[in-house]
């Protein structure tokens, strides 16, 4: 899922300090799961901002709503009826939702309330780590299910480098060396001989390098 982190409240205050009518919009999916932008977090932020404005001796209307998602037209439409009541939207969705909101409500300022971090999984409550860089050409079948692009700091296709130390990456002792894990798994699967196969030069044109990407599925378009 998309993992995000709450922006520091000082930063959010800086963004909205001159607003008078704010709608804080949460999202019920990824940002709820990583406890950054769901209904709960919307409530907390709203309460904090109300107190901020009261303390500044300012009147501010601060409302809350949490949509199922902010990356689908249908859900964003749900607030069309009330959008004119606000001078600011503070979206706690990931970068995708914030942008979709801004595109849809073109004349209302939309500000982000979270920092979108990466595609990842929950290792345990409160700890999320990156697993995928959306390169567009998944090689997990060859690398025993571990991605060197998202988990190797140098995205080496033929690792490990000479800095791998006791299974950890040279840049951080807490970071697993992806290639150590790949080797361990190849061993476990009885495929250690595959290690010597040279991975060819990657086609990065389906990655960010190729430009903003799009998927079009004629078969499901109406």
């Amino acid at each position: 899922m998309i993992v995000a982190e709450k922006k520091p409240i000082e930063e959010i205050i800086e963004l909205v300090k001159d607003s008078e009518k704010i709608l804080i919009v949460g999202c019920n999916e990824c940002v709820t799961v990583c406890e950054a932008g769901g209904k709960k977090e919307v409530g907390i932020l709203a309460s904090a901002l109300r107190m901020y404005f009261m303390n500044q001796d300012k009147d501010a209307k601060i409302d809350e709503v949490t949509l199922e998602r902010q990356c689908d037209h249908e859900y964003l439409e749900e607030i069309r009826g009330r959008i004119d009541q606000y001078d600011t939207i503070l979206s706690l969705a990931c970068g995708v939702g914030v942008q979709f909101m801004a595109e849809k409500y073109f004349s209302t300022p939309v500000f982000p309330g979270v920092n979108t971090c990466f595609l990842g999984a929950a290792e345990e409550r409160g700890v999320w780590s990156e697993r995928c860089q959306a390169c567009g050409q998944c090689i997990l079948g060859i690398t025993a299910g571990i991605c060197p692009i998202s988990r190797c700091a140098k995205r080496l296709m033929n690792g490990p480098c000479g800095g791998s130390t006791q299974g950890k990456c040279e840049i951080n002792k807490e970071l697993d060396c992806a290639w150590q894990i790949i080797i361990d798994r190849l061993k476990e699967l009885g495929r250690l001989d595959d290690y010597e196969k040279i991975m060819p030069i990657k086609d990065w044109s389906t990655d960010r390098a190729g430009g903003p990407r799009k998927v079009v599925r004629e078969d499901v378009m109406i």
Partner: protein, 315 residues
């Protein structure tokens, strides 16, 4: 053995001599004297001089320019090239730039992560890794084509090298990794600096068992300790480095003023021991910021004078 390039280093190795290479780090400025002065110190004691490429991700004068500078004073450079900072266009372009000055040796590396240097907030590239860079240069040289498929006018004629680190983890794939680099096209290897001779000999034995020592020229890397502090630093703070306790003890057991001398002694002893090791075809002496000691090490190591090649050598 036949040579495939005009490289002097290749010729020396092909003739069966133990080769000696060393390295110079370019300056953090634009003064060419900083390179030529260092090179002058060592030029009669080595067959080729490596120029490092923004080593440890610290921005320095580029390796290519420094190599060209060496060519202008009649010396044989080894262009070190990391894939951290350049995409495939720049890599191929720089290779042609080097070839245009008849720089005939290249060492292919991935490169230390930029976190270590002065640009931790910068991007890194890694369009290719070191393995793929080796393949690329061989392709450019032997097929005469760019990666994209177009013909190269006057293809590079470079002797292609790679690094090997017998001391990084996991040990069990370090020889398979050597095999992989050979399969990718590496023709010579310079290893990470050796302090754990037992481990190195084990790695070498495993390499010999697979016949790899005959497919590639392996140059043993050595770096003399300047002090016990340096030994401890390298033991504890440098990833992929193996400094055994008894070596640190040996350095610490000597008075401070005598430690530099002890470090050189250890280095020279290693040369003598490794000369006897089957598969070692030369030495890569990395005396970082201590280049003035290279002549002494080479001489004490019994590697002086360096062989002279005839200008019409067969091969």
């Amino acid at each position: 053995m036949k040579t495939k390039t005009p490289s002097k280093l290749e010729k020396i190795l092909a003739a069966g001599h133990l080769a000696v290479t060393s390295e110079c780090g370019p300056p953090r400025g634009s003064d060419p004297k900083a390179i030529t002065d260092k090179a002058e110190m060592i030029k009669d004691h080595v067959d080729a001089i490596n120029i490092t490429d923004n080593q440890t991700s610290v921005t320095r004068l580029c390796s290519l320019a420094a190599c060209i500078r060496l060519k202008t004073i009649g010396l044989e450079p080894v262009l070190q090239m990391v894939t951290r900072d350049r995409n495939r266009i720049a890599l191929q372009s720089d290779i042609l730039g080097a070839a245009s000055f008849d720089i005939n040796n290249i060492l292919c590396l991935s490169g230390d992560h930029q976190q270590f240097g002065d640009s931790a907030k910068g991007q890194n590239v890694f369009d290719l890794d070191s393995m793929q860079l080796i393949q690329t240069i061989r392709y450019m040289r032997d097929e005469g084509k760019f990666l994209g498929g177009d013909e190269i006018k006057r293809p590079p004629r470079m002797f292609v090298g790679a690094a090997a680190n017998p001391f990084a983890d996991p040990f069990e794939i370090r020889v398979p990794r050597l095999a992989k680099k050979i399969a990718a096209g590496a023709e010579f290897i310079q290893t990470q600096c050796i302090y754990n001779l037992d481990k190195f000999e084990l790695w070498m034995k495993q390499a010999r068992d697979r016949g790899l020592h005959e497919k590639v020229y392996i140059l043993a890397g050595l770096t003399p300790f300047k002090s016990a502090g340096m030994a401890k630093y390298m033991k504890n703070r440098v990833p992929g480095m193996d400094v055994p306790d008894d070596v640190v003890k040996r350095m610490s057991g000597v008075a401070k003023e005598k430690q530099a001398e002890e470090g050189i002694k250890i280095c020279v002893e290693s040369i003598h021991r490794l000369k006897e090791l089957e598969g070692v075809k030369g030495f890569h002496i990395m005396a970082i910021e201590w280049e003035e000691k290279v002549p002494e090490i080479v001489e004490e190591g019994g590697l002086y004078p360096r062989p002279k090649l005839e200008s019409h050598s067969r091969g």
